[in-house]
């Protein structure tokens, strides 16, 4: 973990929706090879943070640096820098087949041979997708759609994979499988991961470091273990009262 030169470095980030301040001076960094989680309640600004990084939402002030460079202001240019987002609610292209969804994820790449190779890697990770390759995305189950959304994001060959609420609307057994996959992506493929999650316990267990976002501000940060043991986190986000 190269803490000295973070891969993603966010400083004093302020984001407004009209007159409402959604993020108020957020400082956050992600080092190469880390899994970083951002936990927080509904409306804390977690999704806004993700959307701002991928330039879907513009920001009022602050800096977002990625590998030492400012990120582009147009969302379609962000993928080429090596960042992909698995959006909240999966947002797969329902009328397109599994294969087409995956190819859409590889839109910025031109080399057919390498694209096919990446697709095979995705199928190795999610064999279910290969079985359903010609099926329309909309006919898949929720868990399969999440696999497709992650697979689609991997098709761009990212260095930093961001996931917005990957557990949302999934059965507990599927959530476990999903998070196991995220750990594998990090350990075996060396992918750096930033995820935001309402399901604090599972996120804190798997991450190296985490931030607690509360009404647009970082209220706590530490390693996953530290936060899991913190009584304030336990009371507010884990439902544990001592």
């Amino acid at each position: 973990m190269a803490e000295t030169t973070p891969m993603l470095d966010i400083k004093d980030l302020v984001v407004h929706y009209g007159g409402i301040c959604a993020l108020n001076g957020v400082n956050l960094h992600v080092g190469q090879g880390e899994i970083v989680a951002v936990i927080g309640a509904n409306g804390a600004g977690k999704s806004t943070l993700m959307k701002t990084i991928v330039a879907v939402k513009s920001y009022t002030s602050g800096t977002i640096m990625y590998k030492g460079m400012p990120l582009p202001k147009e969302s379609y240019k962000v993928v080429s820098t090596g960042i992909t987002l698995v959006p909240e609610g999966r947002r797969i292209f329902a009328p397109l087949t599994v294969r087409e969804n995956l190819l859409a994820g590889a839109y910025t790449r031109w080399d057919r041979q390498h694209i096919n190779q990446t697709m095979e890697e995705v199928f190795a990770l999610f064999p279910r997708l290969k079985e359903r390759i010609n099926q329309r995305g909309g006919t898949l189950s929720g868990g399969e759609q999440q696999m497709l959304a992650v697979g689609r994001a991997l098709m761009a060959k990212p260095d930093l994979l961001m996931l917005d609420e990957p557990s949302l609307g999934l059965a507990p057994i599927v959530i476990d499988m999903m998070f196991e996959t995220i750990t594998r992506l990090n350990r075996e493929m060396g992918l750096t991961i930033l995820l935001v999650e309402q399901n604090a316990s599972i996120a804190l267990e798997l991450c190296h470091r985490a931030y607690v976002l509360k009404t647009g501000e970082i209220s706590m940060e530490g390693t996953g273990k530290e936060l899991l043991e913190d009584p304030r986190v336990q009371a507010s986000y884990l439902g544990i009262t001592s």
Partner: protein, 291 residues
């Protein structure tokens, strides 16, 4: 029987032209969620460019067609860049997009009117001798118009379903925001879509001009394309083509067996009847809001 076959061929040919128009509307609607009312002006523009290239510049038909397609593409992309894209950048409601499209339409149609006047003109190509199969005479113009229209539709299908850019257009038509997360540039997609619109409207304008006449308001026929896409079922390319074929054949049958005066009456009646029994169109699956 002879009349039936003649009218059938003619109906398929006019149905193919309606298909080009219906698909042109559907493309813009599916990606940008507004009805491009300027489309019929593009069609008239394309027809007049070809008309002028032949009658004043004495160019051969194929060259006139090529010039018409290129200039109509430039017109359609300019309309996108000058009228639609700035509104999109400011996140204008789609009603404003439509009103802007009407403005583009009025401007183009009136400029054509100023230059050429509002009269009907015969498209300057020599009438092709019909082909006789037994007693059945089949218009060569119908065959050429129908044939080329089908080739254009097939190329469009191949583009949308077999190329990377086509996938970009389809992904954007489903979810423009997520498409941009994949690296699909929305403004690039807009140029592709309006280029296709330019091609479709130009080809349709030329063949419609040959079949009937060239005049500034000729784009009014695009209302038929709307009927066709509603009859087929909104939001799907094959449905638009099926609807267009049915409408084209119905019209030529009415013209042949009843009277051409009642042609449009039957078209609209047909629409009402279809909607009474199939509110989503013949092949439509879900009700979509469409203006």
């Amino acid at each position: 029987m002879e009349l039936f076959i003649q009218q059938l061929v003619s109906g398929i040919s006019i149905g193919a032209i309606y298909s080009l128009l219906a698909v042109g509307y559907a493309l813009v609607y599916s990606v940008y969620n507004f009805t491009n009312w300027a489309f019929d002006a593009f069609m008239a523009f394309g027809a007049f460019i070809a008309f002028t290239s032949i009658s004043s510049l004495f160019l051969p038909f194929w060259a006139a067609g090529a010039i018409s397609i290129v200039l109509t593409i430039i017109l359609a992309v300019s309309a996108e860049k000058l009228a639609y894209s700035p509104l999109r950048a400011r996140k204008a409601p789609r009603l404003f997009m439509m009103i802007s499209a009407m403005g583009v339409n009025l401007a183009i149609v009136n400029i054509i009117n100023l230059i050429y006047g509002g009269t009907f003109r015969k498209f300057p190509v020599d009438a092709l001798q019909p082909i006789f199969i037994g007693n059945v005479s089949i218009g060569r113009t119908d065959l050429v118009a129908g044939g080329i229209s089908f080739v254009v539709l097939a190329l469009l299908w191949a583009f949308l379903y077999r190329t990377r850019w086509g996938l970009g257009v389809r992904a954007s038509s489903i979810d423009i925001l997520t498409a941009s997360l994949m690296g699909i540039n929305n403004n690039g997609v807009a140029i592709v879509v309006f280029t296709l619109t330019g091609i479709l409207s130009s080809v349709a304008g030329i063949f419609y001009g040959i079949k009937y006449a060239v005049y500034p308001m000729m784009g009014m026929v695009t209302i038929k394309a709307m009927i066709a896409s509603i009859v087929g079922g909104l939001g799907s390319l094959p449905a638009a083509i099926v609807g267009s074929m049915i409408l084209g054949i119905l019209e030529t049958m009415v013209s042949g067996y009843i009277s051409s005066t009642y042609r449009d009456l039957f078209s609209f009646l047909f629409l009402i009847v279809i909607l009474l029994f199939f509110p989503n169109g013949l092949m439509g699956k879900s009700v979509e809001e469409k203006l």
